[in-house]
Symmetry: C2
Subunit: 345 residues, 2 copies
């Protein structure tokens, strides 16, 4: 199988290198091809998602991404929107047809102390957030800024809702069988459609799943005050962006959050943390999320659950024995990566 | 001065009665007129915001609202959208022209233990969220559900952005002088307008204010992991709905969160908690947020800061000595209200 790696900007190259080292060990038969994305791709090719990268994806089985983007005051942020690093990422998601973004939120036993929540609330949390990734206000073409008025359009169609809801129901079948669909149906027509279609699909094809509906403002509140009530959460693109970042605080460090984006073709696997320009190049970034994303790549992209489990176990061990600086420990990127490598059985 | 009270549904009448008792004590000269809103108004007049209520607002100096809405399985939720209790509330906000919703988030000294956050994070939190209340996806007429597609439109104009930003800058001048404007400018044109206009207004008229811009997903994360970094937060309607409910968990009980909605005419003052149909009519609801909303009514609606301070001090005392059930205490609505009344100096 062929994997394309897109290290990107900031700490992206460092954490991707760590993930690649682990991947080579667990899956020595894969071919790895590295390409540019984001700000570095703009600097090199004048395009944050250049044609050469696009071409390389054609026969890829999975894509491993680092991070894209620069500091708040980066010159990249002064570019026209379509040339900024983030646009490269959005274009990549679109090109791959990755409509379902899976973000597991898990508090590792023994690491509850990292959470901003009281330990008794954080303990045992295990939520899977499924975010719709190709619809809503993110991609709808009906958008404009013109003089003193601007608008964007939150649009969904039934097929878009159904395909992502299917992923949530499928995931729930392998977990506790409960799905919470999140919307703002008391105010938005687009949420009325979302709620209707998710319910109809459950009634038609997933009768074994327990489905409930909650409002996004209420979930924002409950996910931090009573996280254990959730199993699988499914929601539209913008709500998913907000809720999954919010949920990421529960384990206590963004450095522990991997993600998988699945769809029609090759999946996209990436840590959810940003490019952290302040520590880029210093060799101190926590590569755990990137390594765990490589684990998700093995599980969902290459269908090798044994390899994925191997990585998860090794990361859990390394986190306990060699915590990185963001976790209050001392390990740098290399020390942590070595710890993972030597914990692989 | 004339105050209109709209007790509404669920626990609304109980907590409003408590607030009115305190108001009569602190401001014996005000005239109080009670009217219907929400589900109860629909049941009585076939309209969640009936003409008789609308008429009563014409010469009101301020409006004190309880709560609207029923349980998830309430028959009200099967009505067409414009007849549901929530639509009564939205129509009321519109009729009053209340474009700026102020939600203070304050952790009272000694009550840190109520927070789901670790005590050291909750201690001393004092944030003011200013939510735009009459624009964005909530009211824009360009919305539809039709067959297998639906959409809503997030629209803002410069005057809408400026009037709410002014409220945030004005509030910051009386606090620590820092405003964080929240948007999703890396993806949305409507956020680009928001950011541009907030910045321009600061540069023109509020040069003493320290303004910064953050993305909504990042704020959702930081407001719970590092709440002390914020002073005043200003944002559009939907982001404000989500973030203010989220921030409400910091003090540990929704029962402690008042709000003020200000605009062209009479202000609207209401607790942010819901109608809690499960405990309605039992006399156990925590009326603190409604009483504190009456305090905000004195401060912002009638310009009587002394009365407002009197109420705030009395509530703080009552909370420590007679905590209600939602706070792990035993006091019922009446006991708590009496404690507030006797703590008024
Ligand atoms: C960088 C940005 C466009 C992106 C998003 O909003 O999708 C990010 O916040 C994320 O969640 O991956
Ligand atoms: C009930 C609902 C329409 C309302 C809103 O979204 O504005 C509520 O959530 C609030 O925040 O006051």
């Amino acid at each position: 199988p062929k994997i394309v790696t897109l290290p990107g900007d900031g700490i992206g190259p460092e954490v991707t290198a760590a993930a690649v080292a682990v991947l080579r060990e667990v899956a020595p038969d894969v071919t790895i091809e590295e390409h540019l994305i984001g700000g570095i791709a703009y600097d090199t090719h004048g395009d944050p998602f250049p044609q050469v990268t696009r071409d390389a994806l054609k026969d890829a089985d999975a894509v491993l991404l680092g991070t894209v983007g620069g500091a708040q005051d980066s010159a990249w942020n002064l570019l026209p929107r379509h040339l900024r690093p983030e646009s490269g990422l959005l274009a990549l998601r679109k090109a791959l047809g990755c409509y379902a973004n899976l973000r597991p939120v898990r508090v590792q036993p023994g690491l509850e102390y990292l959470s901003p929540l009281k330990a008794e609330l954080a303990r045992g949390v295990d939520i899977l957030i499924v975010r719709e990734l190709l619809g809503g206000v993110y991609f709808d073409g009906d958008r404009k800024i013109d003089g003193d008025t601007a608008y964007n359009t939150m649009r969904y169609t039934t097929p878009e809702v159904e395909r992502v809801a299917r992923v949530a129901f499928w995931a729930a079948e392998q977990r506790k069988g409960r799905v919470t669909s999140v919307d703002k149906a008391n105010v938005l027509e687009v949420s009325e459609l979302w709620r209707r279609d998710v319910t109809a699909l459950r009634d038609r094809e997933y009768r074994g799943i327990h489905l409930n509906h909650e409002y996004v403002d209420s979930v924002a509140m409950l996910i931090v005050s009573d996280p254990s009530r959730y199993d699988v959460i499914v929601t539209e693109n913008l709500f998913g962006d907000i809720l999954s970042d919010l949920a990421a605080v529960i384990p206590g460090s963004l450095g522990l959050m991997p993600s998988a984006s699945l769809g029609d073709g090759a999946g996209l696997f990436e840590p959810i943390h940003g490019s952290a320009p302040d520590i880029a190049g210093k060799g101190v970034a926590n590569p755990a999320a990137a390594i765990m994303s490589a684990g998700m790549l093995l599980r969902h992209g290459l269908k090798r659950p044994e390899g994925a489990n191997q990585i998860d176990r090794a990361v859990a061990l390394a986190l306990r024995e060699h915590p990185t600086r963001d976790l209050g420990g001392k390990a740098d990127t290399q020390t942590f990566t070595r710890a993972v490598l030597s914990a692989l059985e």
